[in-house]
Symmetry: C2
Subunit: 355 residues, 2 copies
DNA sequence: CTGTTAGCGCATTCAA
DNA sequence: TTGAATGCGCTAACAG
């Protein structure tokens, strides 16, 4: 090993093989391990003489030093990892939320570990365990809670021990007692939508309602129905068809609905991807949207904003919701909080006035 | 502390406060640390007597033991983390790839750390560094490479030292010499599309071409033009408008194109999200898709498959591409490989026959 | 301000 | 088989 090389000119990838540790850097710089640590990390207060500091930094660069985050985590007793659990990252709703979470986490100096459950509560539990093993500083869970008491019980149990160990938790979507949550105003959004559509002349209505046990789906559906009922419009029970919270679920539910007696003039799908599936089913039946059947959704997913006919829906600031979850999960906790986010009706061509 | 409690009956969250370490488990089980480690991990060969093994597992469960992945990583000298770098997780193209990566990584027992660059090469480099600090076992980078030699040079440098340190790398999209890559057949896909559209009667064509320096965009555009040229149709240079690889980029490019002289009968956008933006611009200009302007895209993103008019495009198996990248990044390397994936034309209503 | 030292939690030698 | 001892790479007291 030459004295110290020629300063900084060239010299990428000097080390070549093998790991480069901080003590090698220290040695190369001719200082102690501790000083090297302080110089490179610079945490708390920078209490390292400038020239030494520079020597260390130089040495680090020369050796292509890369601090071992795992070792740091051990020594510090804490990580910069945030776990994000979603049901399906290919779903535009979740990918928008994920985008928000990742941006905000990045700004907070955190790295995001992403897990997808495919709507399986068991996998959700498994991922929480994995993230706990990772010693993730916080876990953010996005996606509808379930109506199943046993499942929720188990979930809260697992999260409780995670929190006991110092982990933080935030939810996006449906609140769970005792946990901080970003909660979209599904009820008001749906009710507003119902009133707006009623105002456009719709009276003969069907609902693609999502799974029975899906809390968000229920909230939206119930609020929509209730608002309509207040206006004197009843949605017959056989026109409320459950289905998966997916494109295929919407397609299937709509197909079922079309097989029933008569066809509703308007169909409200409890989310946009279901609405898309529904529109497809309508067309396959040889009917026109919105000429024969008007369709409305919920979420206002981005990709759909430009298609024709534009889909009437209730807009949720999904990216922002993701962003909001991060401080909820990271900032010092003064008890669980709920952060409400508004939902606003967006009328487009899929539900023209039919007065 | 009671003797050992009543076996397993109740007792969740026994520990209460503080971390639970393996040695605590060992103590609780009355065995040595080493035995506890062997029992719980069971790696290599299970050389632990059954009764001891059971005692350890019991103790672990009683104490809600959660192995510290960071400590394991240190001791083992390797992690189960795979880093995934995409440009924008809210973009359906990338979220589909991410879905594939996450699924396959999960099956391989790996956790995925996701980073987004927002198309900034500098952030790409930063994230590679971060992932290297994390000692990610592999890094998968999805998204178009850039034409900038300096940037690519730097990127390859950084990846080279990452690999020197034992990391694995795989790309999805554009190959970079020396690195394993999943490569969609952009050229054939575009050429096939060009021929198909020519066959439908289109002669007067414009192209929304993506950024100049974007390799994928260039490949698609060039192949499309060439195929058309072979059929005797030239696309005038002023009808090839560059734009960002995004919805807004497509919208802007289309707007520019519409401001030019005459309006092409067909516009090919080099990806679907640009095509969506373009359709919007067409409509804003008071024109009809496909009546006045036919539109074709590339990728076949899921959410668009059900809208009307259906978008003619070239389908890429994006989820599968993500899946394929994982073995490329994880399996033992016998030199860099390229995994080609086919692209197939999908004709829909956005480009009707106009013979 | 700098250097020495002691762990962080675990896997794995090496002996027994 | 099991246990005792070592070290992974780093931070954070603790002394100089």
């Amino acid at each position: 090993m030459a004295e110290q090389g020629a300063g900084r000119p060239a010299a990428p990838r000097a080390g070549g093989r093998g790991r480069v540790t901080l003590s090698q850097v220290a040695q190369e710089a001719g200082v102690s391990l501790a000083t090297a640590s302080r110089a490179i990390n610079g945490s708390s207060e920078r209490r390292v003489r400038e020239d030494l500091r520079e020597r260390v930094l130089d040495a680090a660069q020369r050796l292509d030093y890369s601090p071992d985050a795992n070792a740091q985590a051990m020594a510090r007793g804490r990580t910069d990892t945030v776990g994000l659990i979603v049901q399906d990252i290919a779903d535009p709703y979740f990918s928008a939320i994920a985008a928000g979470v990742i941006n905000a986490a990045d700004e907070a100096g955190c790295v995001v570990t992403l897990a997808t459950t495919h709507r399986d509560p068991v996998r959700e539990l498994e991922f929480i365990a994995t993230l706990q093993n990772q010693r993730a500083r916080a876990i953010i869970i996005a996606g509808g809670r379930v109506e199943d008491a046993a499942v929720n019980e188990r979930l809260r149990d697992v999260l409780a021990t995670y929190q006991d160990r110092g982990g933080r938790v935030a939810l996006v979507g449906q609140p769970l007692p005792g946990l901080s949550t970003v909660v979209p105003d599904n009820a008001h959004g749906s009710a507003d939508l119902a009133r707006a559509l009623h105002g456009l002349g719709y009276r003969d209505v069907g609902i693609l309602a999502g799974p029975d046990w899906h809390t968000t789906a229920r909230d939206r559906q119930a609020a929509f129905r209730d608002a309509l009922a207040e206006l004197g419009v009843e949605v017959p029970a056989d026109r409320v068809v459950p289905g998966d919270f997916t494109r295929d679920g919407g397609h299937a539910a709509m197909t079922t609905l079309l097989r029933g007696e008569g066809t509703p003039r308007l169909v409200f799908a409890v989310n946009d991807v279901m609405a898309v599936g529904a529109m497809s089913a309508v067309r396959e039946a040889g009917l026109d949207v919105p000429g024969d059947v008007a369709v409305a959704g919920f979420d206002d997913i981005t990709t759909l904003r430009d298609v024709a006919p534009g889909l009437t829906t209730v807009a949720l600031p999904m990216v922002e919701m993701g962003r909001l979850a991060v401080p909820l999960a990271l900032d010092p906790a003064d008890g669980p909080r709920e952060v409400p986010v508004g939902a606003s009706v967006v009328l487009r061509e899929s539900t023209p006035r039919i007065d």
